[in-house]
């Protein structure tokens, strides 16, 4: 029975290819949405992930960086610096704001660095210098390409014109790019002096980050300290939460599209095969065996679609990243596994839609000429 069903599918190879390609397109859309979301989520936390701090210290009540505001007076920074087990502290000032370039506006993390900075600044440079002096800025290379800016050009952060002196790598995201400026400029922009937003603390060789967190919170009042991994986890969770509903909606639309396409293919196949299915029933095939065969047809088409979509996505992602550098995409095994499970649901739903047609087939119609 199964052999018959499979061979029947291949009787019209063009129809089969179109069906697989159509369903694969729907799955590919889902994979790309997920890939973009995963990539962008990772880019949102790029700064937290890449700077070399062991412990992050911030205002009490704050537990992440994305979209957050934190103020710590300078004297508390000095307090932390003097604690035993602390190998280094770099204080940054931080502002979520819109950066204007011509008539374009970009939401950005603006990080004010105490220069010279050892580990709180850009971690990879494409061009220019990494340590911005007063009146200077380091911007993402992708950002500069998109806005047609280069070293020596200016951009505006709120009311301040800054000259671009360096182009950093891995710091661009559609949601928020990271722009580095001198802390003095940012203090001036924010009219907030003698404060920091976050302390990036390096632990000494004999102290673990967890021990240091406890020591800082015991010694310095009204601050919140987190290990770098906890802080990253908090930011990543927040980034994921922000897009979950959108991605869920996109996945639902993609899945519905795939269900429609696979169901239409299976339904068409059943309708085309009505006569042969009636003959099979007349010869002794049960409804159950026909359902199973049709369901397996659906699973076969869907599985092929998922494989085609996954291979296409794997081939497309690097090319897309080169072609559209503004978009960061990540294809994960979890994402493919999720699509495969979704595919199974699609196949079963599509097969169920044809079950009624099979049940209603009259075996006696095999006698009709």
């Amino acid at each position: 029975m199964l052999r018959w069903m499979i061979k029947s599918l291949f009787m019209e190879p063009l129809t089969l290819v179109v069906a697989i390609a159509s369903a694969a397109s729907a799955f590919l859309l889902i994979i790309l949405f997920e890939g973009i979301f995963a990539g962008e989520s990772e880019q949102i936390v790029a700064y937290v992930r890449n700077v070399k701090a062991d412990v992050w210290v911030m205002q009490r009540g704050v537990s992440n960086m994305h979209m957050a505001t934190s103020y710590i007076p300078d004297w508390k920074v000095r307090q932390v610096r003097e604690l035993p087990g602390v190998a280094g502290v770099e204080a940054i000032l931080y502002l979520n704001t819109v950066v204007e370039v011509g008539d374009q506006r970009w939401f950005s993390y603006v990080v004010g660095l105490e220069v010279p900075s050892n580990y709180a600044g850009p971690w990879a440079m494409a061009q220019g210098k990494a340590q911005p002096s007063v009146g200077e800025a380091v911007v993402p290379e992708v950002f500069a390409d998109m806005t047609r800016l280069g070293i020596g050009d200016t951009l505006r952060v709120t009311d301040r014109e800054l000259t671009i002196v360096g182009l950093s790598k891995e710091t661009f995201s559609m949601a928020n790019s990271v722009i580095f400026v001198n802390k003095i400029d940012l203090e001036d922009i924010m009219s907030s002096f003698d404060i920091a937003s976050f302390m990036l603390v390096k632990s000494g060789p004999d102290v673990s980050p967890t021990e240091l967190v406890g020591a800082i919170e015991d010694a310095v009042e009204k601050v919140h300290a987190l290990t770098a991994s906890q802080f990253l986890q908090n930011d990543r969770r927040l980034a994921m939460q922000m897009g979950t509903e959108t991605i869920a909606l996109m996945t639902t639309i993609g899945a519905a599209l795939a269900i429609l396409l696979v169901a239409f293919t299976i339904y068409s196949q059943v309708m085309r095969q009505r006569r042969e299915l009636s003959v099979a029933k007349a010869l002794g095939a049960t409804n159950r065996s026909l359902y199973i065969s049709v369901a397996l047809q659906a699973v076969g088409i869907t599985l092929a679609s998922v494989i085609v979509a996954s291979i296409t996505a794997a081939a497309l992602l690097p090319a897309l990243s080169n072609f559209i550098p503004a978009v960061t995409m990540i294809l994960t095994v979890a994402s493919v596994a999720k699509i495969a499970i979704l595919g199974l649901f699609v196949a079963i739903t599509a097969a169920l839609l044809s079950a009624r047609q099979i049940a209603r087939l009259d075996p006696a119609s095999a006698f009709q000429t």
Binding site: A282, A285, A366, T369
Partner: protein, 296 residues
């Protein structure tokens, strides 16, 4: 020794619709079929032959009455049990062959065997034997679309026999065949009944088949009746020259106001392509055989 009854039908009635639109397609039909018997069911179009065949094969439930196949009352069986009865106990042969297009000759023959659990090796041996006997060896891996009408019907016969059912139900098995292939198919069915002891019910309009039948039943208005002598009016198929019963012939064509009757679709198609070739010099009337009337 008492001959085994393979099929017993008792007071079968099948009605469609209700009230003013009620049609009694099968009307109180009773019949029995012994092992090895080949019974012809004839009758005019719309007389209920195919409906009766569907009921006898467990494809359609009668409104009332009972059908026993090999002693099992199939009318009392649930829907879920009927497919297995059809697969094991009944072999179907259709006018339109009804082979599965995607499967090869051998796979088509083995199809009903694969609907039954176990015995696949034995079925493969039987299939090989049937392929040999029905001269399908060179076509074993061919797809149905590449077969001639006669070959298709031989495949359908082999498929009907693969599970060695005691009962074969054939609906117009020669209806889509030319005279030579039709004759060949009839001889195969005759041999199956005589040599293998299979019981065959054969619905047909083809009067040539009468020669091989053990019994002939006449179905009219859904009921079995005595066939009247005047029910035959033999004429010759203008294409192949075979005799055709003018009154029951299913394939007819009109040319220059005159009706012509044909033994097979192929003859009809040839006639319609070039009627002047076959009408010749006597367009007024289709050549009639020496006598009109019933045979046997």
């Amino acid at each position: 020794m008492k001959e085994k009854v393979v099929l017993q039908a008792e007071n079968l009635v099948k009605t469609f619709g209700s009230g003013h639109t009620e049609v009694r397609a099968v009307d109180d039909v009773s019949l029995s079929l012994k092992q090895g018997e080949l019974v012809l069911v004839m009758g005019p179009s719309g007389s209920g032959k195919t409906t009766m065949l569907s009921i006898l094969g467990g494809l359609l439930r009668p409104t009332s009455g009972q059908v026993f196949i090999d002693g099992t009352n199939i009318s009392a069986l649930s829907e879920s049990k009927l497919p297995m009865i059809r697969a094991r106990s009944v072999g179907f042969i259709f006018q339109a062959f009804n082979l599965l297009d995607a499967l090869t000759v051998e796979e088509n023959i083995l199809f009903p065997a694969r609907l039954i659990r176990g015995g696949q090796k034995e079925a493969a041996v039987r299939a090989a034997d049937l392929i040999e006997r029905l001269k399908l060896g060179p076509r074993r891996t061919a797809l149905p679309q590449t077969l001639s009408g006669g070959e298709k019907q031989r495949v359908a016969i082999a498929r009907a026999l693969i599970n060695a059912p005691p009962l074969i139900l054939a609906d117009e098995p020669t209806g889509n065949l030319d005279s030579t292939s039709g004759q060949e198919v009839m001889m195969i069915l005759h041999d199956i009944a005589r040599d293998e002891g299979r019981s065959i019910i054969l619905v047909t309009h083809d009067p040539r088949v009468e020669d091989v039948a053990d019994r002939i039943l006449w179905l009219e208005d859904g009921a079995l009746r005595d066939r009247k002598a005047e029910k035959h009016a033999w004429v010759r198929d203008p294409v192949c020259g075979m005799r055709v019963d003018e009154w029951t012939a299913q394939l007819s064509s009109t040319y220059e106001g005159q009706s012509y009757h044909f033994c097979a679709q192929r003859c009809l198609e040839r006639f319609e392509e070039e009627p002047t070739r076959y009408v010749k010099c006597s367009p007024g009337e289709q050549d009639r055989t020496a006598s009109s009337g019933a045979i046997n």
